[in-house]
Amino acid sequence: MKTKHTLLFFISLFVFSSFSTKAQEENEVVNDTVVKNNVYGLRLGIDLAKPTRTLVDDDFSGFEFMADYRITHRFFIALEVGNDKDEQIESNLVSSTKGSYIKIGGDFNAYNNWVGMNNSIILGLRYGFSTFDQELISYSYYTGDTTFPGFTTEEPIEYTDLSAHWAEIVFGVKTEVYKNLFLSFQLQLKYLITEEVPENFGNLYIPGFNRTYDFSDFGAGFSFGVSYLIPIYKK
């Protein structure tokens, strides 16, 4: 009986002491935040996926700059600007698109960082706008019939001053690989809001939106970026 009570006493002592140390740790975390460990600043970067594609894909060339600015603990203002040139080679037509785009929006960081860490799991929204020119290089008549040899025009037609607006949902991760140096990966789901379509033709590719689909207003994209954080203040 006596041993049992003694045992209980020690068990409860152990449990309580472990609780209290844990509480102490949490207090320390709170204190650290007060000691201003969160870096606020401007992060500037470039996309590595597009230059890589430019090197390996003869039909594509492009680049993208990205920037974000932290405004609260979890919210960032985000911006991307870029330029694309892409050739669309289909079974019955070849067309080329070139133009620039800008995407403005915000990122929400859903990741809970440990003290001193600065990684992100990003959920973001963007509004995208692009102006571009398109060139229909060649096309043939689709007949569904093989009686006569096909006919292909080789006289290029230029369509200039085209534009498109779209909305974008962004899912991404950013990880600090070296002090203030970040690698990021982003998946983008896009929805085309309006577009200026050339007469008797369509926009097969929109810079920033990427390729379009015949029976859908949705598009997709990704980026793989490297960026540098210019610290402005700590909070």
Partner: protein
């Protein structure tokens, strides 16, 4: 771990980014065929079938038969999208051992391009259609009439042949 995941996603996307998934679906109206109906010359309101009809066009010195020994009162034939004319031979009472009576019709037109979509590209529509019968010593066709100057779908008869 996170860095490896990023790299893996990146590589898989680059590899997967070049797929062709658009095929021109069969239901899409593309370049229309020319619809011809055969009618009775003596009684123009009534259609009249042609016995053992063979419809032939010559492409690069090869005869291509679109219909062979068929008894019908209407046909659908393609026009050449590579030229502003197509010549067709219409053979009546044709059989493999005894050739029938051949009449030749020259179809003349202008082509216009109409955009469909990415997979189908463009279709041709034909305007200013004319159908001219070549007169020979023994024509079985009496007259041709163009019902539609513009061939843009296959819903209606474009040319009527009276015999």
């Amino acid at each position: 771990m996170l860095k490896k995941l990023i790299l893996l996603l990146f590589v898989s996307l680059v590899v997967n980014s070049c797929t062709k998934d658009d095929i021109c679906s069969e239901g899409t109206p593309t370049t229309p065929f020319l619809i011809i109906t055969f009618k009775n010359f003596n009684n123009p309101l009534f259609s009249k079938t042609v016995n053992n009809l063979t419809v032939t066009t010559i492409v690069d010195n090869d005869s291509i038969h679109l219909y062979r020994f068929e008894t019908t009162d209407s046909i659908a034939i393609p026009l050449n999208t590579g030229a502003d004319f197509t010549d067709y031979l219409f053979v009546k009472d044709d059989a493999s051992d005894t050739p029938g009576n051949t009449d030749k019709i020259n179809f003349n037109y202008q082509r216009e391009s109409v955009y469909i979509n990415r997979a189908c590209a463009f279709k041709a529509i034909y305007t200013f259609l004319s159908a001219d019968l070549e007169i020979d010593s023994d024509n079985w066709i009496d007259e041709t009439i163009v019902n539609k100057l513009i061939v843009e779908n296959e819903d209606e008869t474009h040319v009527t042949i009276f015999h």
